[in-house]
């Protein structure tokens, strides 16, 4: 980790347990890491849908018999957390009835899952007749049925509308596929070929894990492996606790909002009291919104995963990806709240809620470790999907997770054009979009002046314009946020610009879309998606004038913005050295999102 050091290294590390050979320990640690990453690569390579490959929206891992994660592969960080609950659900229903060759499947958020598109595969492994461990894979499916293609709609009001609910069931029984279940699945999803393709990829990943474990058992012996697994998790817990212990004790509060409940525009508060006490952390979300009408509700398992992520980013050391990390972090949310929902809550679009949880935890941690936490980023990518028929009457569905930018950091600017850190998704190339869909990308790039002003400014908004070139109107569905509650600045930095999504931008017919919407788009119409800009870090008046001049030269900032927000006078080319600051710049006193100059030419009717 390259985060600036906040504190000196611990005097003496607490060592490994006395019966542990440090060399074997590292060898087994490496071997487990390779194994779960090999499972991840197998999944990526064999997958059908772009979601698994380009968004890495999956998880691979090995768990012990208690359901603790011994190792998890690198993938979407938000998927690091929910697996133990899925295993617990399988055990609760099937304890005593698991046999070699069984593969369990589930996706029900109320019985081990997180939302319907994430389908978990869990395979118990046996050694010498006794159960030994679990290999697990979860993957986001391109469609699991329900009322809207892609199963991502944010305006569903019950889980029943969102797709097929699968309780923990045997997808394979003693190695034989459960034909009944497969047939039922095939009839209930829109693109069975992709679902079956991705299911095969998930099975291939389990097989890679199984083969790797057989090898390790042969190399090290089952009992030794188990002993070292326990130590691996203890080791991670020790590292984590050591780091937490260096944070000042206290109760740190932070509140952030979603701007919509998925149906109507109204603030949905995420309330956090984060207590650091000794070497443990309690994240208490009591006081957050009750579960909402739309599909933004989260299971407690996802709330935990988002919390773990944020805590992990402020640790001064890199820790292995295993369940030992979870132990020092307790997460509390009220049953029936938006962060621990109950039936019949809809949850397909709960990702947005998770982004806000991450923002809240980082906002609280910024008070405890101000040098380690960036200002808020774009607040989660905008997810949109187009679905309909092309000119040859072939059906198409195009889904993109679009963003983003990071907030300014204690020692440097935020990045523009980078994934949200809990996702690490890829964009979809313009040329690939156009060859596969009746869509034309008209514009793709940064929006000047949209990064929150600061000593270290926030990253700029990202914008993409699509023209629909199909034969008949198509369905357009979008999930955005940060329209009202903007990405926060820190240490005197300004908030980033809000998101803004427009139909027919720059024309007579220009109109703004609500942040969460399902609508139609007609042939020849253009829609613009624009994410929020990142928040700034530190007082804008302390920004290096040269950095302002560079931004102007790069066209990332207009001279007017430089003057209004930073009090710096630079000519348009940024070529000449910046002149002295105005003595009373508007920056700091004014809460406007930039001065709007950069937005002028891209259409800003309702900003």
């Amino acid at each position: 980790m390259s985060a600036p050091a906040l504190w000196p290294l611990a005097s003496a590390p607490e060592g490994l347990a006395s019966d542990i050979d440090p060399v074997a320990f590292e060898l087994i640690n490496n071997a487990m890491t390779f194994l779960v990453n090999e499972m991840a690569l197998t999944l990526v390579r064999a997958s059908y849908s772009g979601i698994l490959r380009d968004n890495m929206d999956f998880a691979t891992g090995v768990a012990d018999l208690d359901g603790q994660m011994v190792a998890q592969g690198l993938s979407l960080p938000l998927q690091f957390g929910p697996m133990p609950d899925a295993i617990a659900a399988v055990k609760a229903r099937w304890q005593g009835q698991m046999e070699p060759g069984d593969v369990f499947v589930l996706n029900d958020p109320f019985e081990g899952g997180t939302h319907l598109p994430d389908v978990f595969f869990i395979k118990p492994l046996f050694h010498e007749g006794a159960s030994f461990c679990f290999v697990c894979v979860s993957g986001h499916q391109v469609d699991i049925g329900g009322r809207v293609a892609g199963s991502n709609a944010c305006d569903s009001t019950e889980v029943y509308a969102e797709g097929l609910r699968i309780p923990p069931l045997k997808l394979y029984e003693r190695g034989a596929p459960n034909q009944t279940l497969f047939a039922l699945l095939e009839k209930n999803v829109r693109v069975p070929v992709k679902l079956m393709g991705d299911f095969r990829a998930q099975v291939a990943s389990l097989s890679a894990g199984e083969a790797g474990l057989a090898d390790l058992i042969q190399r090290f012996g089952a009992a030794t492996l188990r002993r070292y697994w326990a130590e691996l998790m203890d080791y991670t817990e020790r590292l984590t606790r050591q780091e937490i212990a260096r944070l000042p004790d206290g109760v740190y509060r932070f509140r952030d909002n979603l701007d919509s409940d998925g149906i109507e525009v109204r603030p949905v508060p995420i309330e956090l009291a984060l207590t650091i006490s000794g070497d443990g952390i309690v994240a208490d979300y009591t006081g957050s919104s009750p579960q909402v009408k739309g599909a933004l509700n989260s299971t407690l398992s996802m709330t935990k995963a988002a919390t773990y992520f944020a805590v992990r980013t402020v640790l001064g050391v890199d820790v292995p990806n295993n369940g030992g990390f979870f132990r020092p972090v307790e997460v509390i949310a009220e049953r029936g709240s938006v962060l621990d929902c109950v039936l019949p809550a809809a949850s397909a679009a709960r990702g947005m809620t998770m982004f806000r949880v991450v923002d809240a935890v980082l906002g609280a941690l910024a008070q405890a470790a101000p040098g380690r936490v960036p200002a808020a980023g774009e607040g989660g990518p905008t997810l949109f999907s187009f679905g309909g028929y092309d000119k040859a009457r072939e059906p198409f569905v195009f889904v993109e997770i679009f963003g983003g930018s990071w907030g300014g950091r204690p020692d440097r600017d935020g990045i523009e054009g980078i994934s949200h850190p809990v996702l690490n998704q890829r964009n979809i190339p313009v040329e690939v979009i156009e060859v596969e869909n009746p869509l034309r990308v008209r514009r793709y790039g940064f929006v000047p002046d949209t990064g929150g002003a600061g000593k270290f400014r926030g990253g700029l908004s990202l914008m993409r314009d699509f023209e629909f070139v199909g034969a008949e109107p198509a369905q357009l569905q979008m999930r955005a946020d940060r329209r009202v509650t903007r990405p926060y600045g820190l240490a005197g930095g300004q908030a980033g610009s809000p998101s803004c999504n427009l139909m027919a931008p720059g024309t007579e017919k220009e109109r703004e879309l609500p942040a969460m919407v399902t609508t139609t788009i007609a042939p020849g119409e253009t829609v613009r998606f624009m994410t929020a800009g990142g928040g700034g870090w530190g007082d804008p008046r302390e920004r290096d004038p040269q950095a302002v001049a560079e931004d102007v030269a790069d066209g990332k900032m207009t001279p007017a913005h430089a003057r209004a927000q930073y009090g710096i006078v630079v000519d348009a080319g940024g070529a000449t050295a910046p002149r002295k600051r105005d003595s009373h710049p508007r920056a700091g006193a004014d809460d406007e999102p930039g001065d709007g100059q950069g937005l002028q030419h891209i259409g800003r009717k309702q900003i």
Partner: protein, 717 residues
């Protein structure tokens, strides 16, 4: 070329690295000479000439005879890593100025909010837009607006750049607008070096194409200077035959083409090593081999299967070295060409051993580098490295290595291992050193797995070819841990990449994006595209002197809905329903082998088609392929014996130390150390070594193929 030959003609293979220049000379009358010299940057030709002269002198030959020089160079990779390329501008389609800076959004490090993208090669202020637009069929949506072109060219001139990359949206489908922009540049700014994306990489995917084209523009002036100087120097010494250069795809190109498309020269050196491995495997009759090249800071692995190299379409240059970046990508600048798939990990002789905050023993990724180097070099290094551990274990000569050029202080190695590893962990120094050695091995296993098991291959079906200074020290232990039965240490393991160059063919290729359902694509269209591609590569190949042009088709295929291709090759020829069916069948077989399943009956999409032409350089036949007959360097050690530690179950054993020449075709059982000029081959107990008639060491593990269990179980008490 003169018709009469008075002196024997000769071919030279030269691998120019940052530190060393390795030279191998092969003459038409069967002579072979080798030389390892310090590189002479920026004037790299000096070392080449000195090496060639010395090697020829050894053979009693002289310059002035007919010659051919084949070389691999690090100049491109270094220019990118050191950010020493040209000042560049980019011209792109209006509305797409930020494609280059946005990239693919991905980062190689998770959980790090202080990550930064690699520094930009072209800042936004030097990216200029022109008004135009093609669609994906190559139809013009917006005609090229010449006023906007003039304005962009004006801006380029005002920016004071040396090179320009022209990268327009959908130019892979129709290059007309890019060509028109390039023409205007040629007229208005004749001194500028222009790289055009539809010429450099006519592939779908605007970011990767732009990145590749920008890299080309960025390194071209430097490569041109480098090649001009090299050619001039060689000529001045009467070494005036053709100069060929290794490309990342594993084939040679001419100096002329290299100057135009220098981006194809990245990873030139590592590709040569893999080529050498392929040639050696073939000579020894192994269909499947893994190459393992371990140097001071990194270890590299590659796969050879059924005699063929594996190519990767997702190479990134300038990124951090870490096994998991193969999963995430995003750490460097992508190159859209097929690149010999070499997995690299940050584990080498100089890698540092340390204890982390949780009490775990770790090795790398930090390295002591050449300076200060391992503690045992006594050049100021104060931290234990893998090399120090190898000295403590007795694997390396305790007095001197590299033919006596580097003095070794065993006491210093023992001290750092004792004080910084053994004592804090409460274990014996030998156990600590052995632990460092094993942990380095486990990191390197990551590289080998990345090219083998992670593609669904079973490593036990492969032999391991080990080279580089440290490769032979670690190879047998590595093979044991992975269940590999045979290790080959070639003659002159430190010069192996240079040897590979002499066995490489010239290669030319052209590709076309089709993105069509292979079942629906008409044979006429398919054959028309193949015909055009064939003519294009034929024109390239016809410019070179060479023999036996062979053509091959490479089809990039995927199932409908997938976002990942497999490349399937086939002999060149007119396609029929049968050959197309065979292509699909091959794809499905490869899919099943790689992913464990196939999807019978589903649509197969032909993403792109490539035609590759290969020809043997004119003189290669005359000098034969050199791999088989390369002599080991002359230096030999004194035979003797020392105590060597092979692990807790065996303990320290009195181990004979012999020279390669003392081996024979009979099995020599371990424990055994085979010491030579540029490396040491460590043969543990229960393994045997023999010498192949061509000078290669062949180590057989256990009774032929050691099961992983027997090899490692005893390690855990």
């Amino acid at each position: 070329m003169p018709a009469t030959i008075t002196a024997p003609s000769y071919r030279v293979g030269v691998d120019i690295g940052g530190t060393f220049t390795d030279v191998v000379v092969a003459t038409s009358d069967g002579g072979r000479g080798v030389r390892k010299l310090l590189s002479t940057p920026p004037d790299f030709g000096r070392a080449v000439i000195a090496g060639v002269r010395a090697a020829l002198a050894d053979l009693g030959a002289e310059a002035g005879a007919r010659s051919e020089v084949v070389h691999a160079t690090t100049v491109v990779t270094n220019a990118i890593l050191e950010r020493k390329g040209a000042r560049c501008a980019v011209i792109t389609t209006e509305g797409f100025r930020d494609v280059l800076e946005i990239g693919r959004l991905r980062m190689p490090e998770l959980f790090n909010l202080f990550y930064d993208k690699p520094p930009k090669l072209v800042p936004r202020r030097r990216v200029f837009e022109v008004r135009e637009r093609m669609d994906h069929h190559g139809e013009v949506l917006v005609p090229l607006d010449q006023d906007s072109v003039e304005a962009a060219v004006e801006a380029v001139l005002a920016a004071g750049v040396d090179a320009v990359a022209v990268c327009l949206i959908n130019s892979y489908a129709n290059p007309a607008h890019e060509r028109a922009v390039a023409e205007t540049l040629a007229i208005r700014a004749p001194g500028l070096d222009v790289s055009v994306s539809s010429e450099i990489l006519p592939r779908i995917g605007e970011y990767e194409r732009t990145s590749t084209t920008v890299l080309n523009a960025y390194v071209r002036p430097a490569v041109r200077r480098y090649l001009d100087a090299m050619v001039a120097q060689l000529k001045a010494q009467d070494i005036d035959g053709p100069l060929y250069i290794m490309q990342c795809s594993g084939g040679l190109t001419s100096a002329e083409r290299a100057a135009r498309e220098p981006v194809t020269l990245v990873e030139s050196g590592p590709a040569a090593g893999v080529l050498a491995g392929r040639e050696l495997a073939q000579a020894l009759g192994y269909a499947n081999a893994l190459t393992f090249d371990m140097g001071g800071t990194t270890a590299k692995a590659a796969i050879i299967e059924a005699g063929a190299l594996a190519l990767s379409g997702e190479y990134e240059v300038g990124g951090r070295i870490a096994a998991h970046t193969r999963l995430t990508g995003g750490g460097g600048f992508p190159i859209g060409f097929p690149v010999v798939d070499v997995a690299e990990v940050g584990a080498g002789g100089g890698s540092l051993a340390w204890i982390d905050a949780g009490g775990g023993l770790r090795v790398g990724p930090h390295s002591a580098g050449a300076q200060p180097g391992p503690a045992c070099y006594a050049q100021g290094g104060e931290a234990p490295t893998v090399t120090d551990a190898n000295v403590v274990l007795g694997y390396l000569n305790p007095e001197a290595i590299a033919g006596g050029e580097i003095a070794i202080r065993r006491d210093l190695a023992e001290r750092v291992v004792m004080e910084q590893v053994a004592r804090p962990l409460g274990i014996e120094p030998l156990a600590a050193a052995h632990g460092i050695h094993l942990i380095a091995n486990s990191a390197m296993m990551g590289a080998i797995r990345a090219v083998s098991t992670q593609r669904g291959r079973d490593v036990r079906d492969f032999v391991l070819i080990a080279f580089g200074g440290s490769g032979p020290v670690h190879a047998v232990g590595l093979a044991r841990a992975m269940g590999i039965g045979t290790v080959v240490v070639p003659a002159a393991p430190g010069l192996f990449s240079a040897v590979g160059l002499l066995a490489t063919d010239l290669e030319f290729q052209q590709s076309r994006v089709l993105y069509a359902d292979l079942g629906e694509l008409g044979l006429d269209e398919l054959n028309a595209v193949l015909g055009e591609l064939h003519d294009e590569v034929w024109r390239m190949a016809a410019r070179e002197e060479g023999q036996g042009v062979g053509y091959e088709i490479a089809a990039e295929l995927r199932y409908w809905g997938q976002s990942y291709e497999l490349t399937v090759t086939a002999p060149f020829g007119p396609q029929s329903d049968e050959t197309v069916a065979e292509l699909i069948a091959r794809f499905e077989r490869q899919h099943e082998r790689t992913y464990g399943h196939r999807a019978m009956g589903e649509r197969v999409i032909l993403v792109a088609l490539r035609v590759i032409a290969r020809l043997r350089p004119a003189m290669a036949a005359g000098t034969a392929r050199a791999v088989a007959g390369t002599p080991a360097a002359a230096w030999t050690t004194e035979s003797g014996e020392r105590r060597v530690y092979f692990g807790p179950e065996t303990g320290s054993l009195a181990t004979p130390v012999i020279a390669r020449a003392e081996l024979s075709a009979e099995a020599h059982w371990g424990p055994l150390l085979i010491e030579e000029y540029d490396s040491v081959t460590v043969v543990p107990p229960e393994c045997s070594a023999c010498l192949h008639p061509a000078g290669h060491i062949i180590v057989t593990l256990g009774a032929g193929s050691a099961a992983p269990a027997s090899a490692t179980q005893g390690r855990l008490e």
